[in-house]
């Protein structure tokens, strides 16, 4: 985390946990010596004593257990079910599509995904839910599970996204004239990059407990990011009113996007069983089911043609993206949108054409995962640019200096970047702090002197990224999010929001922001549980919008509360608010989202201000590659992130560190192979994320270029680090070995194939097919 000293390899002793290094917009680096008065994590003590209650920790006396029967065909017609007559079916409850009271649809952007496949309906992917079961105990449930046999008639399956003809969404962005630009270039570099699935791997599996209500509705307690998404799904699928459907977030053990949309499905399943059994029903996935059946990061194939001049100026980019949506639409159009807008990287190129499409394959639907399309295309963009630099014999830092957006730059959606453009600054800070050029000279010398005796090779790599903050385009304005702030009768300050805590620090920074605005100590501000019966819809906890958008709304609400109370009492808020509560009674401020000034986007032409603000990040990775086995050790990553304003240094840094390690895993060891449309890596024994021994030394520098249109200046941090880590590692691997890996993960198998000419593994993300599928 240090700027000043070189990353030390000393392992003797440890200093006290250093305070993060923050670079404010003006002035010197606020370094290690500075104290922060940021508060301790609000729910920290509960988490540290094992008393925080996650969904499976909740006890509901008399609850039954639920399970899901899932397809083992990738594409088939569901003909019916056989129930083994030797089993006593009165001991269990069976729910099929015929039992769904509302629409058999998981509410989403497009109405195409059923809650359960109906008899006669079309199964579109392996693990697709067909039937639900509930029983009083797990042994009975297990036995019943083995005695239901779906009958299916297989249909031809599509696994190759390049061969699929069903398009969920497509975009075509154009700036200038890319054909002319390419023709005028001194050099054209071509490259295709492929990324496979990535699993969010929250350590707490998806879980829901549904409890039937006396009013005919249902209360769902669960692990989730977006209470109102689940709420909307329950209303639609169960034909319930807003009051009858109640969603309560339990302590949630990680989300990363994996609990953005999937909870709607599992919530509906648990609710259906609860309504049929008239009992609480626990639907707690085990890891195998979660890995096999829930959403993953979209695989993609990204092709680049880059026209560049000898002096390093990029004059044209022509980019094509094919994204694999899996079997249903879910959030794919929005993922593709972000992937498309970010696909050129953070560079002001005069001629750009980006064409993208997301298609159907008969694999489980893909969904949100930190970065939401940008990590895929920015891996491609940065690796492409690093290859261009290589072709020109130019430093990766220098080529970026010559092309990175500056103030006034114009993006492929024709957005003018009017403020907060810090691509140059994060680039320079990263290069300087890591001593990048000096390291490159050293690795080049080592490479030149390499002999067969050498066991390992070191390399250093750099990447730059941008990430639009908040929802794309008019998404935020259309949502109309609300937060509320209450001064209660008994003088307490309470925040009411649907924004959820899942480790990133919502429950800490929200009281912190409000307390600061009201002039109160942090402990005086409470935050109500995320229960749709009590809190307004503040929008989903996604898209790096929580600190920027919802936090910003809260600050405004606090200002209004302060003004109101001070106007009544004539005294400063801290001195008078309790009296005001007693005398005047409670005050509730509802703050609705107001579109940021001057931000306009045309959905029809897909032009305009795609995002109100952009975050910028650079990463420098150092790797060591074993020359015998091509195993990659990522030794360190230095991350520089412009987050607008650091609200809580330790929490902010924690986001950068965690996101960076997820990006390192994406680049190196996280891999899903598929056969016949089914994930083969469906247990923790086979889906691998980095352990503490694999994790690099992580150093973070936080830069502040505040977003002027929110009171606190924050631009979001959750996803930005995810965009930049993987290409930095890939560049470092090239620096060490001389080979460019175009596919993620850059597994030892891929590196060895590139180095030694042995057969490479299959391309990532595409299912193989069993040689002889026996007839049914």
């Amino acid at each position: 985390m240090t700027v000043d000293s070189r990353p030390s390899h000393s392992t003797r002793g440890q200093t006290v946990a250093p305070t993060p290094v923050i670079v404010p917009p003006t002035g010197p680096v606020r370094g290690r010596a500075s104290r922060t008065d940021a508060p301790l994590r609000r729910e920290g003590p509960a988490k540290l004593t094992g008393t925080a209650l996650y969904t499976d920790d909740l006890v509901f006396p008399g609850a039954w257990y639920g399970a899901t029967i899932r397809s083992t065909d990738a594409h088939a017609r569901l003909l019916g079910f056989d129930l083994d007559p030797a089993f006593d079916w009165s001991r269990v409850v069976v729910v099929t599509a015929a039992d769904i009271p509302g629409d058999n649809l998981v509410a989403s952007i497009v109405d195409d995904q059923p809650i359960l496949v109906p008899v006669g309906g079309e199964i579109r992917h392996q693990t697709e839910p067909l039937v639900l079961l509930a029983a009083a105990d797990r042994d009975t449930l297990r036995e019943a599970h083995q005695r239901i046999h779906p009958r299916t008639a297989p249909l031809p399956a599509v696994f190759d996204p390049l061969a699929s003809t069903v398009v969920f969404a497509h975009y075509d962005l154009s700036k200038g004239d890319s054909a002319n630009g390419l023709a005028s270039a001194d050099l054209v570099v071509v490259g295709t990059y492929r990324v496979g699935h990535q699993e969010q791997l929250y350590i707490e599996n998806n879980a829901m407990i549904a409890v039937p209500r006396p009013d005919g509705g249902v209360t769902v307690h669960g692990s989730l990011q977006c209470p109102y998404y689940v709420h909307k799904a329950l209303k639609r699928g169960l034909h319930l009113t807003a009051e009858q459907a109640q969603v309560v977030q339990a302590e949630t053990g990680g989300g990363f996007g994996g609990k953005e949309e999937y909870p709607s499905m599992i919530g509906l399943h648990a609710a259906l069983l609860a309504l049929r059994t008239r009992r609480p029903v626990r639907m707690i996935y085990d890891r195998h089911e979660d890995l096999a059946a829930t959403t993953k990061r979209h695989p993609a194939i990204v092709s680049h043609r880059t026209g560049v001049m000898r002096d390093g100026r990029i004059v044209a980019q022509d980019i094509e993206i094919v994204m694999d949506g899996g079997a249903y639409t879910t959030l794919t159009p929005v993922v593709l949108s972000r992937a498309t807008i970010h696909a050129g990287g953070p560079y002001d190129v005069p001629n750009v054409r980006i064409r993208s499409r997301a298609v159907l394959t008969n694999t489980p639907p893909n969904g949100a995962f930190r970065g939401f399309g940008a990590p895929q295309t920015e891996f491609a963009a940065e690796t492409q640019l690093n290859r261009v630099a290589d072709a020109l014999g130019m430093s990766p830092v220098e080529i970026r200096r010559r092309n990175v957006y500056q103030l006034g730059g114009i993006t492929p959606t024709m957005q003018v970047l009017r403020a907060g453009v810090t691509g140059s600054e994060v680039l320079e800070r990263a290069a300087e702090a890591s001593e990048f050029e000096r390291l490159r000279v050293r690795t080049a010398e080592a490479r030149a002197a390499r002999t067969g005796r050498d066991r390992t090779a070191r390399g250093v790599g750099l990447a730059l990224a941008w990430h639009g903050a908040g929802f794309t385009g008019s998404g935020e304005a259309r949502m109309g999010s609300i937060v509320s702030l209450e001064l209660t009768t008994d003088g307490r300050i309470q925040i009411l929001t649907a924004s959820t805590e899942m480790g990133q620090g919502t429950k800490t920074i929200f009281p912190q922001l409000v307390a600061a605005e009201l002039g109160l100590p942090y402990e005086a501000v409470e935050i109500a549980p995320q229960d749709t019966a009590f809190v307004p819809d503040s929008g989903p906890t996604v898209a790096s919008r929580t600190a920027m958008v919802v936090g910003g709304m809260l600050v405004m609400a606090a200002r209004r509360l302060r003004s109101e109370v001070e106007a009544r009492t004539g005294r400063a808020f801290p001195d008078s608010y309790r009296d005001d509560a007693t005398g005047h009674g409670p005050t509730r401020i509802d703050q609705e989202f107001e579109p940021y000034p001057g931000v306009g986007f045309d959905d029809a032409t897909y032009t305009g201000d795609a995002y109100p603000a952009f975050g910028w990040a650079a990463a420098v990775a150092e790797v060591e590659v074993d020359l015998d086995t091509c195993e990659v050790t990522v030794r360190s990553v230095l991350a520089v992130d412009d987050v607008g304003r650091v609200i809580h240094p330790i929490l902010c840094e924690g986001q950068v560190e965690g996101g960076t390690l997820q990006a390192v895993g994406y680049a190196t060891i996280e891999e899903i192979k598929l056969r016949d449309g089914r994930y083969l890596n469906d247990r923790l024994q086979t889906y691998l994320i980095p352990t503490a021994l694999d994790a690099p030394r992580l150093e973070t520098i936080l830069v502040e270029a505040p977003f002027a249109d929110v009171p606190h200046g924050a631009k979001g941090v959750g996803e930005l680090p995810m965009d930049v880590g993987a290409p930095a590692v890939i560049a470092a691997i090239h620096d060490a070995t001389g080979v460019w890996i175009h596919d993620l993960p850059a597994s030892p198998e891929r590196i060895l194939a590139a180095l030694a000419g042995i057969a490479p593994p299959e391309p990532p993300g595409i299912s193989t097919v069993s040689p002889a599928v026996p007839p049914r």
Binding site: Q14, L40, K47, T49, L53, D56, I203, G253, L698
Partner: protein
């Protein structure tokens, strides 16, 4: 069958099938839900407990194999040494109820979503009790069987190192006025 264990200092009897996982005995039969199930395969470490002071993943331990053994869970790590049952019961815990390792996690930001935290605390506690030198490498090896997806491990390692420093500076309690 009836098995007799000492759990967090308290002699405990359970009458359950012998192949019941210790994890299920703790969570369901004894209501100690602090120990978490992340995978059921022994890969994630979220279910880590101490058996006679040694770390084990309780999802792979059948209760018949811990008859007569001493078990420590996260609920047993409090202001006092584990197993002395000194934690107060009921209500949200206060910072003062935290043991030094927990306090170190709070200070460094070692817990984000918190689901890996109980297992990490147990592994960290075992490391500190071993009195091994708290190098970066040694700490990382001691938690190599505990997966975390949120933190990148940096602040967890810092927390364990910080707790070791407090221990070595004399006393099991963090110095007063420690910066928050």
């Amino acid at each position: 069958m009836t098995y007799r264990l000492v759990v967090n200092g308290a002699p405990t009897e359970v009458t359950v099938p012998g192949m019941r996982r210790l994890l299920d005995v703790l969570r369901e039969d004894l209501g100690l839900t602090g120990t978490k199930e992340g995978c059921g395969e022994g890969e994630c470490g979220a279910c880590t407990v101490l058996i006679d002071g040694e770390v084990a993943v309780s999802c792979l331990v059948p209760v018949c194999q811990v008859d007569g053994r001493v078990i420590t869970t996260v609920e047993g790590l409090g202001a006092g040494p584990p197993g002395d049952g000194s934690r107060t019961v009921g209500g949200a815990p206060t910072v003062d109820e935290l043991g030094p390792l927990q306090r170190a996690f709070l200070q460094t930001g070692g817990a984000q979503c918190g689901i890996c935290t109980p297992g990490m605390l147990i592994a960290g506690h075992a490391f500190l009790a071993s009195a091994a030198e708290p190098t970066d490498a040694a700490i990382r090896e001691s938690i190599a069987g505990n997966l975390c997806r949120c933190t990148g491990y940096t602040k967890i390692v810092e927390a364990i190192a910080l707790a070791a420093r407090w221990r070595d500076e004399g006393g099991s309690v963090a110095p007063a006025g420690e910066p928050g």
